[in-house]
Symmetry: D2
Subunit: 406 residues, 4 copies
Amino acid sequence: MSTFGKLFRVTTYGESHCASVGAIIDGCPPGLELSPADIQVQLSRRRPGQSNLTTPRDEKDLVHLQSGTERGVTLGTPIGLLVKNEDQRPHDYSETDLYPRPSHADYTYLEKYGIKASSGGGRSSARETIGRVAAGAIAEKYLKLAYGIEIVAFVSSVGKIQIPSTVASPDDVDNDDAQDALSEEFRKLLGTVTRQEVDKYPTRCPHSETSERMTKRIIRAKEAQDSIGGTVTCVIRHVPSGLGEPVFDKFEATLGHAMLSIPATKGFEIGSGFKGTEVPGSKHNDPFVRRADGSLGTTTNWSGGIQGGITNGEDIYFRVGFKSPATISQAQQTVQYDGTPGELAARGRHDPCVVPRAVPIVEAMAAIVVMDQLLIQNSRKTAASLLPPITTLPPSMVRTKSSHAA
Amino acid sequence: MSTFGKLFRVTTYGESHCASVGAIIDGCPPGLELSPADIQVQLSRRRPGQSNLTTPRDEKDLVHLQSGTERGVTLGTPIGLLVKNEDQRPHDYSETDLYPRPSHADYTYLEKYGIKASSGGGRSSARETIGRVAAGAIAEKYLKLAYGIEIVAFVSSVGKIQIPSTVASPDDVDNDDAQDALSEEFRKLLGTVTRQEVDKYPTRCPHSETSERMTKRIIRAKEAQDSIGGTVTCVIRHVPSGLGEPVFDKFEATLGHAMLSIPATKGFEIGSGFKGTEVPGSKHNDPFVRRADGSLGTTTNWSGGIQGGITNGEDIYFRVGFKSPATISQAQQTVQYDGTPGELAARGRHDPCVVPRAVPIVEAMAAIVVMDQLLIQNSRKTAASLLPPITTLPPSMVRTKSSHAA
Amino acid sequence: MSTFGKLFRVTTYGESHCASVGAIIDGCPPGLELSPADIQVQLSRRRPGQSNLTTPRDEKDLVHLQSGTERGVTLGTPIGLLVKNEDQRPHDYSETDLYPRPSHADYTYLEKYGIKASSGGGRSSARETIGRVAAGAIAEKYLKLAYGIEIVAFVSSVGKIQIPSTVASPDDVDNDDAQDALSEEFRKLLGTVTRQEVDKYPTRCPHSETSERMTKRIIRAKEAQDSIGGTVTCVIRHVPSGLGEPVFDKFEATLGHAMLSIPATKGFEIGSGFKGTEVPGSKHNDPFVRRADGSLGTTTNWSGGIQGGITNGEDIYFRVGFKSPATISQAQQTVQYDGTPGELAARGRHDPCVVPRAVPIVEAMAAIVVMDQLLIQNSRKTAASLLPPITTLPPSMVRTKSSHAA
Amino acid sequence: MSTFGKLFRVTTYGESHCASVGAIIDGCPPGLELSPADIQVQLSRRRPGQSNLTTPRDEKDLVHLQSGTERGVTLGTPIGLLVKNEDQRPHDYSETDLYPRPSHADYTYLEKYGIKASSGGGRSSARETIGRVAAGAIAEKYLKLAYGIEIVAFVSSVGKIQIPSTVASPDDVDNDDAQDALSEEFRKLLGTVTRQEVDKYPTRCPHSETSERMTKRIIRAKEAQDSIGGTVTCVIRHVPSGLGEPVFDKFEATLGHAMLSIPATKGFEIGSGFKGTEVPGSKHNDPFVRRADGSLGTTTNWSGGIQGGITNGEDIYFRVGFKSPATISQAQQTVQYDGTPGELAARGRHDPCVVPRAVPIVEAMAAIVVMDQLLIQNSRKTAASLLPPITTLPPSMVRTKSSHAA
């Protein structure tokens, strides 16, 4: 469905070639200073045409606020917003009419709805993500102002080229000591990377040498009329402890849901991820330590800031895999809707690699998840704080203080 | 929160040492023959104590149906069910009272709620999954009877030991032809594996040689008072095309949400998963082909049965990563709630590896997702079928027939 | 919150003086022919300025479809739509700035959000209902085409002037035989009234003599710079049996929710309503009868088409009470936000009586409720129909046929 | 569906003759002292057999807490609870097997589900309300402790016999001054009535003279093997201002939804209700006044404590209409499922009037609504409080203080 969230609720509409794409954001806290510029910055980062690595269509994508603010301040009522579809050009795609494009959504949309947009897979268009990015920018503004939360995503791999993140070790299955560990360099990157640094690179990979190799890889895909996928890693810093709603809306479950709803995603990992299935418990467990402010932290962070589905105050980091784009210019052997075999070649201009543009989308969905979980936990904490103190329980069952809590 | 699903809704309650754990399943189709035995079989597969690889606690876990059926047939009203907690033994864990167990949920539950169960992380207990498994068994029964849907999960890796699934190729980043491909043997396994075969192995890994290596790996972890994680792969066969609710409740997004809500999960991949980020589009795209019955299928299935968030009628397969269990018997350096450093050693009996027991949980959550998405799509299809036929659209925009549709 | 419905989901935005008001309608069946004119007709009926009984502001209220249709047919994707706020004139209301208007939402909006729109009660504006009416028009079009469902609302009372609906009887509390009964004339009205007939009267009361008296009553209120309330009665005909989702989403509960969310509503009655609390069971019960087509119907219809929260195939009728509008031109003694007593007189033009304009809003919300409940029940019926027939139950427990079912 | 609420979520199961009825309460604030006795008191008030006015079945209805508390304190995790069905006696109803009981849910349940419980209308049984009452008792305990909120319901009418609530006036439609006004006596009753006073009367009508007349009316219905309905009025005192979630989840809309989901309800009125449609705006508006503590209140309270869908801090009062029970002992002319005409007479023991027992059910649903709305508003207020103060808006747009706010 087209609504996400329980208290901070984002509902989107629109596809490639209709009048506009947009969203209604319901549940934004009142009293937040908000201007179109706050939203535009992320829409522009999402926009194609920013380098020779992405498609040259310039869509402009100016946001128009419709409601929910007055004199630049949110009222707490739903924020309606939209971006007009200026570059509609539906005929660019007309030759594909006889063919369901392989690994595209043409076929499944037709199966699902019994009808499909002439442009193909309707809402599976990347243009659908505009509403998400706008909503995420609003959430981010709040999270930054109220909690100092920072959300930074970056491209961590393109094809097989990836930022070195672990200290290599021999793949010795009989030797538990030979496990990979997160490298110091990568931990530092997670802890400090900024959007400014990320945007210095056309690949949005803030690791100079890797970025150069990625650039070559993307150009090679472009020249081959082919495409290549990649991964986006995202870190969320300064999230209070206590967020996440077991058992079904654990923080990572909701985050995974959000990420896997982005077009072209194939995988999601939180913290140590699949690597964490290989590291023995004795090494994978994150020992607690007392921080300078008296609160508890962990020395390592394989957990990725989440334990038992609830944030623990450490940095949250996760990785999202995007498949190689289905739209390629080279000819493909496939069949038409009626089963007739033939050769299909896409026309028009296409991104050989979408991960650089996916960066603000990942950030947006992350912001929406944090915002919603924060509002729910805020409610519980406020409610609990109004009760008389509990005096009948053993001390270990009751929290006495925490500097991290939401 | 403790409810999952929109039309087929599962709400669970209970933790390790309360009176019972249970669930309310709302929205089950009426007229389904259902006996406790239908549920018990999966609860027993989930139960510990079935081999020397898992913890010897025998919890029995007999299900008690409370409502929603009469004379062995579902009424369409909510099905209440519960399993008593016979083996409560809360004192086994008493020594941990001063310490938040590393990478457990003790600390985060206390941060979230300001209070925690004496047993520790409350609902983060594996025992919480009983309600899910029971609900999943009901969904499965329906899906089998009404659609012939088969859901089979198995252990695909333990630590670094995994079922060979791809044909190896040199890791040559400059050579796009050198990509891994799913091996014939693994594709055949996905297409044919049954629960009976899976249960022949104590590891629930239906690959004889790999299972033996896994067994040794688990025993080694046990002997070292350590633990080891692994992955579960699951295949869902005979799912109709058209399931999945873009844009936020795409099939894989909901499936990922479901899986990442299972305790100890760290990652989720659909179809080609993270591997799909490395394979160029020209090779990753699944070409369409006409099947014998006239419908369209795909020759390869990197998509994992889902395109644009919607099922295409091919087998759905995915992989879930489970971290190495946090509870280990060897001593760990950590701190107490008040920050005092010390050494913590868990007592009692613990699973050195939980993935074999996770198999029915993964199956259950998969069944719940399919069931819910099926009900939603059923509604749409029935609604659309009552409208007059559309005569004004070009043929490529309208589906004329499909043998796969829900 | 600003979303209503589970499968047919309406999300609205907008207040009096922002750029536009609008809605996203998610879950509309695909393949429905839909043009702006289908929506405009009801928006125009909602619009003020249609007679000397309502406010002369002419807002035009042209709907702009943004998405979800192509070549005049719904795609099954979200339908975005909006109506621009052309007549914004925020300064009309500027003098009220110091005063919370009595029985308006100025005060409560400020209490709730800590901030309010300069125009006052923000979303409590009647203008908010535009999104509802547009969504309802879409639902209605579907319901008419697919089921022949008819929804007609009309003004049943203004102040104390009401359409005669019962046969009068002495108010003899000791005589159970002396109960009121629904008059034949009113039953016939419910069974046959059309929108065309309703719109013949400026009051939208399709009872000529009563309408004339209402007109005088409204004019008197206008002349006194006062206002007067009234009730709207609505009938829904040809609804299939089986709709309604016990126990919390019974048909009348959801319908009541929908109606009581309309601005200025104070009460809701289904079928016999409060009168049904006075009629003894022996007279209030609706005896069953066999209809010509073999299905069961009821001879009387005190139930209002709903029994046990589920539709029974008879006409659904209900009544909604709208309070006298809070905005009046005569001076009122009250206090300012800071507690200073004073006299407040509204400026501008105001409806002395809103019930004629409420008619299409009531119809719209009714359509949305029927649509949503129908989609949910469709899902169940389709799911149940795919199961093997039940052979083990006594005949009285199993339905064998019905000509009414959804 | 069987779940109510967004943050405080109640899910129920069970019907008359299954193993148990029960509920899962999700989202209860942690740290609340809660014992079975807190719940039992309201279950016992709901229980039949307490006077000669109600059915003599003694069901006992002992609550069994299953989870969510430890040592008498809530953990914040779901509270599972159940009440066993001891008095099952399904055969009492066996003769009705051929007949759908008039105005019962037998027919509609069969139409909806295609199958029904042998006892008849399944979940339409009054026994279903046990889960609600238990959940409401938990909510009430919290609301009392944290906010001092008081919820008291009482029987305001039986048949045509009602507590005098307005000052009579001639029904002169041409004279606006001749409107009814809420009597001083009734306002005082609303402001001060307690459950203790209500329970002094077998009718639960805390107006001595009226109660006596009601008693006679009920006995007369009983003797006539007939039944009689009535209304329950409920007041909620000390609710903070600011609760209610426009536009669809306005306070009265959610409250109405809750009430109309109770079996046998036919109508709902908030504040002045249908009477408010007759009183001109100039008299119906509630003028503001400054209270002793500096906050604003209203001199009258036609609004019933709600304006624009949001609570204003005044007492909330509403009225719910319950139809005369459908189950009567006298013979009824009707038809069998197959259309054969015949005479049906119910056996067993039945309540001639259910409104006294409905009192705790109304209180429970009211508590659940207040609780849920409070949690949602708490979240918003906490979120807004963390933002920097707004300095750019005119003073009338920003709230500076309030002694009522949640």
